[in-house]
């Protein structure tokens, strides 16, 4: 969670860089404390609950949006297990052998926050935003799941640790056996679906400031708004972690000794993991500031008529390869 303010700062700086601007540079060195200042400002804002809202859902929605994104990061193994006092300490908050299924369940859960927020606000823009969020996340979840299935078939497990270990080998000593290279189609599909799941441009239709003002969070203010805001960044971070784990070999580097459990080595793998995640995050941000957004029907078209058939074909292909 500590990543989010940094991420906000990076996003601002990168967007400024793309747009020939300076970006935040007043609060703290290089404007690093800008997100902090923003958070304080938001905390002190008046918390408006407009009339005619469904109070319970209105207050619940930001929490529901934020929680899954925060929880998602807990199942990600972010480093080589560390040997401390003769015991192996897994660098993973919540170790379980159903990791992938849990991530799917959590991403599926996050749509409720947006839909509730849109519905409870008693605002037409928000309602359209909530409806869009519902339709978009449901359809892209299918594409995401299908892309995942082929990865699971390759690894033969739903445990994220196993999936990482499965990717540690190399071809010819230097080409990593990452799933991104073994399952390029699944990688692309998953990546696109991740954009849609995190509501980032070009898939930010639930928000869509040009048409729907603020979309589902139009009526939100103060800390409730910032929870939605945080949720977006937390979800982005979690998605990047997930993509790294599933497709880019997680914390491993090609040719790395997976049996070395010394603390120093473990920390090195953590650094490797975060380096990979940073690259992905950078990509997310650059895309956000360069592409226009889809129209709603085009989004559905892409999801149902392009990505899902491709995902299915990919599973069929993977299955045939595994058999043959």
């Amino acid at each position: 969670m500590q990543v989010v303010p940094v991420l906000v700062w990076v996003e601002r700086k990168v967007s400024a860089w793309i747009q020939d601007r300076v970006g935040p540079n007043r609060v703290g060195p290089l404007g690093l404390f800008q997100p902090l200042a923003d958070a304080i400002k938001l905390l002190f804002k008046e918390d408006v609950v407009p009339e005619g809202t469904d109070r319970f859902l209105f207050i619940l929605a930001p929490a529901v949006a934020f929680a899954p994104a925060a929880l998602l990061a807990t199942v990600i193994p972010f480093g080589q297990p560390m040997m401390v006092d003769g015991e192996l300490l897994p660098l993973q908050v919540c170790r379980g052998n159903v990791g992938v299924l849990l991530t799917l369940a959590l991403t599926g859960f996050s749509v409720y926050g947006l839909a509730f927020g849109g519905w409870a606000s008693n605002n037409k823009y928000a309602m359209l935003g909530g409806l869009r969020a519902g339709a978009q996340m449901l359809s892209y979840e299918i594409a995401m799941g299908l892309a995942l299935v082929s990865v699971l078939m390759t690894a033969g497990s739903v445990d994220l640790n196993v999936i990482v270990l499965d990717q540690t080998g190399t071809w010819g000593g230097f080409i990593p056996k990452w799933n991104a290279l073994r399952q390029p189609l699944a990688f692309v599909l998953f990546f696109i679906a991740a954009f849609a799941e995190t509501n980032r441009l070009p898939f930010d239709l639930p928000e869509c400031e040009a048409e729907l003002v603020g979309g589902y969070h139009t009526e939100y203010s103060s800390m409730k708004f910032s929870l939605f805001f945080l949720a977006e960044y937390a979800a982005m971070f979690a998605s990047c972690c997930l993509i790294t784990t599933l497709f880019l070999g997680g914390w491993s580097l090609p040719g790395m000794d997976v049996h070395n459990h010394s603390p120093f080595f473990s920390l090195l793998t953590v650094a490797v993991f975060f380096a990979k995640v940073s690259v992905l995050l950078f990509f997310f941000i650059v895309v956000r500031w360069t592409l226009p957004r889809f129209r709603f029907d085009q989004l559905m078209h892409l999801g149902w008529k392009t990505m899902i058939p491709l995902g299915l074909a990919n599973i069929l292909f993977t299955g045939a390869m595994a058999q043959g």
Partner: protein, 403 residues
């Protein structure tokens, strides 16, 4: 055949359309517009624009202002291309008076009119991209517009409201470093257009969002009286600079870009191509810029220069007669309609003079207002997202809608 069976369930709820208000404060309405939109889900069933949020009453005000005083009001008409408004109004009055402007003034007006057109088009293209979600393009466009405004500031003293022309000439000559400034701008500006085009032209999302959206046919364009880039985007090669040349536009070598499809994409293409043509005109105009005075030597209408006012009795009298309250030049009774090609289309001025120093009646034909009449038809049946895209492609300026 019998009618379809009613849907099963406790009761048939049916569907109803929803009325949405877009504006007067909404991010898509750059200015204070108000659209009352009836939507079925996300499909626009009906759209009714409401006007009147930016009423300035400048047509009525003109009846209490002398002709030169009105120039400041013409700034506020389409505040993104105030130079073009200044020039259009001055030309109309000069035509009514029969004043011949000097060659240098003529060419300078062409240069500033085309710079104004660049400023308007570059921002329009940027906003079009922004409303589709490509925010960065808008900021790139904004940077360029700021640089243009620097040139305007050096020329007229104002960035947005320039009030640059006077009847029979200009408020003053351009500064010494004007030509180098414009040349420097023209050197790198084509690169910016290239960059914008690189970003948008082959962008699948952008083309999908713009092609076939908000279509208006050539016949409808004529029926509504739509002009400017929107008409040219529908295959109508109508450009006042060509069909009724003013300021010697017939001497410049330029094309009138026309795109056939009449959709948002065509309007974007027309604007981008027009910017390139404007650059061509600008390069020719800079080469052809003669020396000499910028204000016509016609003591009945234009101010004599200050030195002669101090030293010369005749000049002092003329100055007094033009400036003092209750005096000023008085055109002969009559009426005139004169139009110029402003960035948004035909900007026309209908002026009736009753022989006093104020117009008896002044009527403006603002391009955005006429273009906006076609808007409800263009968005019907589209989605809410299309509505925003079409709105941006029309480049409706609220200051032109209400008079």
């Amino acid at each position: 055949m019998s009618a379809q069976a009613p849907p099963q369930g406790p009761k048939n709820l049916g569907t109803k359309t929803m009325t949405m208000n877009i504006g007067p404060q909404h991010p898509a309405t750059h200015g204070t517009l108000h659209l009352e939109v009836e939507v079925d889900g996300e499909i626009v069933v009906r759209c009714r624009p409401h006007l009147g949020y930016l009423h300035t009453g400048f047509e009525k005000l003109a009846e209490y202002r002398s002709y030169n005083q009105f120039i400041t009001l013409s700034d506020r008409l389409n505040y993104l291309s105030s130079l073009n408004n200044n020039i259009g109004f001055a030309l109309a009055v000069e035509e009514m008076l029969g004043v011949e402007i000097t060659p240098r003034c003529r060419v300078l007006r062409v240069i500033l009119a085309e710079l104004g057109r660049l400023g308007d088009h570059v921002l329009s293209v940027g906003l079009q991209a922004m409303d589709l979600g490509a925010f960065s393009v808008m900021l790139w466009a904004f940077v360029e517009r700021e640089k243009l405004y620097d040139i305007f500031e050096a020329t007229s003293g104002g960035r947005l409201t320039t009030s640059w022309t006077r009847i029979g000439g200009l408020s003053r000559d351009v500064p010494d470093d004007f030509i180098p400034m414009v040349k420097k701008f023209l050197e790198y500006f084509p690169g910016v257009i290239d960059e914008v085009e690189k970003m948008l032209n082959r962008n699948r999302i952008f083309t999908k969002r713009t092609r076939g959206v908000g279509v208006i046919s050539r016949d409808d364009v004529i029926a509504h009286g739509v002009t400017g880039p929107i008409a040219r985007g529908s295959g109508l090669a109508w450009d006042i600079r060509r069909v009724r040349p003013y300021l010697g536009y017939e001497l410049y070598d330029f094309e009138v870009p026309v795109e056939p499809d009449g959709d948002v994409w065509s309007r974007y293409r027309v604007r981008v191509r027009e910017m390139r043509e404007s650059i061509r005109i600008l390069n020719q105009a800079i080469d052809a810029l003669p020396d000499g005075p910028v204000t016509a030597i016609d003591t009945k209408f234009t101010l004599p220069d200050k030195l002669s006012v101090y030293n010369d009795m005749e000049a002092l009298i003329h100055h007094f007669k033009l400036i003092m309250h209750g005096h000023g030049f008085q055109p002969a009774p009559g009426e005139i309609y004169a139009s110029t090609e402003s960035p948004n289309g035909e900007l026309g001025w209908f002026i009736v003079s009753d022989g006093t120093r104020n117009p008896y009646r002044l009527r403006c034909r603002p391009p955005s207002f006429i273009n906006y009449t076609a808007f409800p038809e263009m968005v019907r049946g589209g989605m809410i997202s299309d509505l925003v895209a079409v709105m941006a492609s029309l480049n409706v300026i609220a200051g032109e809608l209400d008079r």
